[in-house]
Subunit: 388 residues, 2 copies
């Protein structure tokens, strides 16, 4: 096991009607005026907006609103949020939505206190180490952004979709996860959340680190739980217990627990996907279910025992390591097919013509990856494997 | 899944030579003088004391020392510590040792700020909600006290061994877990730590709660990992990787993660054990490996599916639920036997004559338990089952 430092200060309020407790928590953090940040109109339809406003009013917390966050949150919206916060003198950011809204809130919270352009922190030209207190009400379980310190933002004019963290202050102070608000989600979004959560576990699990028994047990437990409950939700979307299992599993997938003692993960597949969703209007998760089987096929020989362990513990496969490793990749592709998440570029109308553009974009920071260092030529081959 | 609130602010520094970073962390918490609290002479032999003193000196942190904490830490030592802290005006407590030393430190840290007798907080007559900042260097993985807010202290004159927490302030600010300092532990202590960790998982796992898939996955992962690596350590005590797996698993067993969304656990077996170690000089873990199989035999019919799940996922048993449930109890007893932890009262020279005294003591707060509410008559029967 590698040495590690672990801390996660986010307080989680999990369960039915826990939104009612949020105002008191915000007040306890000495915050009196928040930017209420959200995406589309769904929070007005499912009652979440009303619940949030009620708890804010009950605790005499003022707010200004900024909606319109897109599924791949963009820098221009972040900059708009920073301006609003400065002008309105808010002292906290409250994100109500999924990972995109929370990520946007994190960039705003740090950006308000940065002297200059927050994008410089994404580029590594500047360090952002402070931020306004962040609170979240999660409406779509997927990214675990509600319990980690990371944000992914797209700079539209350069087609860059990059990650960033302002450290300790980027952890939300308090996050509310009420699984019942997810019972009305469209099936596609539920599936996307499950794929995203599983993908986070994959990035950490297939990192080449050794002596990670307890971490691998947790990783495999999360994968099995997500696979079981997303299938239940396909037929029974209002099953509260499966919503709860999916929600907490997705949070645990990327809250630091699963990465402790490993490397920081491989993350090549996320890079390969980010280049897809930077150019095409496809969901992050759809890109991940396309790219993961292709990446696995290209790299599995670098750690056949780990892929064999995966096949045995997730799909109960039997046989020699190499056969089980190969078959495990077919099995995960089958699973993505079964839940209706795309597994080839052709399914989302991307063909060979796009390969070079995608390769160029994903190679900007090459070599990428940990289990196998991928250079431009490797990246091109993986995109080719993803075509069909 | 039950509604829950989860937060765990403890920062963990895990791995080789991480003690060197401790002084800086203490300083970052604005603490300038600590009570250096420890047990016996082992920290002088294994070099931990020297490492701790070095990092304190490097960061200009003063200290006063109080050693002599016993394996079942006692109230008189806690009161001595409180007096030293007040007299010497220390502003933090640094526990260097196992769970007993850390528990003693937690009671001292809270007691310094309590007006009156700290034992009143154990009795529930007074609330303790504040404490001095606590730091720990763990030398024996077992209780997870390094990453939770609980302490168990014995009031010698009344043979009461009770738990308490001062809430948020009882979480250590920073805990160092360097598995390499445990490589020289006597085999018995390694075994005790493993039994203690597994027992914590049991108390939470067999709590009768439903819809706990992801929690059960984590629980079973911890149990399998502890069982695997304690067996390796019996033959190879200096195996760093197995020390690391055992250490992190023991921390995760009772840091709040595994209890989130369940009840607060059953904890009857701990109560039954506390009465044992209040009267006899036996290790907490030895008492647990004696009492758990007896408790399981008495209560398993209250949740046969859960005991069957346990048997299948831990021991790969096959068959109908009832048979697998019964066999799983034999198997865990076999495992305790295999690693040399006692599984009957007779093995530790306690016989029928003691049953009534133990029953009286354990019934002080009866009914106890969650999976099955145990009254005095039930408690007596369980002690009888533990005789052989």
């Amino acid at each position: 096991m590698k040495n590690f430092e672990f801390v996660n200060p986010t307080k989680i309020l999990f369960g039915k009607e826990m939104i009612t407790k949020l105002g008191k928590e915000i007040k306890a953090n000495s915050v009196n005026k928040v930017l209420l940040h959200y995406g589309k109109s769904s929070i007005f339809k499912n009652g979440v907006y009303d619940q949030v406003v009620t708890t804010l009013k009950e605790n005499n917390i003022e707010w200004v609103e900024l909606g319109g966050v897109k599924p791949n949150p963009v820098l221009t919206k972040v900059q708009e949020g920073i301006e609003v916060c400065r002008k309105e003198k808010v002292d906290g950011v409250l994100a109500v939505g999924g990972g995109s809204v929370i990520d946007s809130a994190k960039a705003i919270a740090a950006g308000v206190l940065v002297d200059g352009n927050i994008w410089d922190a994404f580029e590594g030209k500047k360090r952002a180490t402070k931020g306004l207190p962040i609170f979240t009400v999660l409406t779509l379980s997927a990214t675990a952004s509600e319990m980690n310190a990371f944000a992914v933002i797209t700079k539209e004019d350069e087609n860059k979709k990059w990650a960033f963290s302002a450290g300790y202050d980027s952890y939300p102070k308090v996050s509310v996860i009420d699984p019942s608000v997810q019972m009305t989600l469209p099936q596609e979004q539920t599936v996307n959340g499950a794929v995203d959560a599983i993908s986070h576990v994959f990035e950490l699990y297939f990192d080449g680190a050794k002596h990670t028994d307890i971490q691998d047990e947790i990783a495999e437990g999360i994968i099995r739980t997500v696979m079981k409950h997303v299938k239940i939700l396909l037929n029974d979307p209002e099953n509260y217990e499966s919503r709860a299992q999916l929600a907490w599993s997705a949070t645990l997938a990327l809250n630091g627990l699963n990465s402790a003692g490993r490397t920081w993960g491989d993350w090549s597949t996320h890079t390969l996907e980010h280049s897809l969703s930077a150019y095409y209007d496809i969901a992050h998760a759809a890109g991940l279910s396309i790219m993961f089987p292709a990446w696995m096929k290209y790299v599995y020989k670098n750690d056949i025992p780990k892929f064999a362990r995966f096949g045995r513990n997730i799909f109960s496969l039997e046989g020699n390591d190499e056969d089980v490793a190969v078959e495990s990749i077919n099995k995960i592709k089958d699973f993505f097919d079964e839940i209706g998440s795309p597994t080839s570029l052709k399914q989302v109308d991307i063909n060979e013509d796009a390969i070079e553009m995608l390769t160029e974009n994903a190679s900007l920071r090459a070599p990428i990856g940990v289990l196998m260092k991928l250079n431009k030529d490797d990246i091109r081959e993986i995109y080719k494997l993803a075509i069909n």
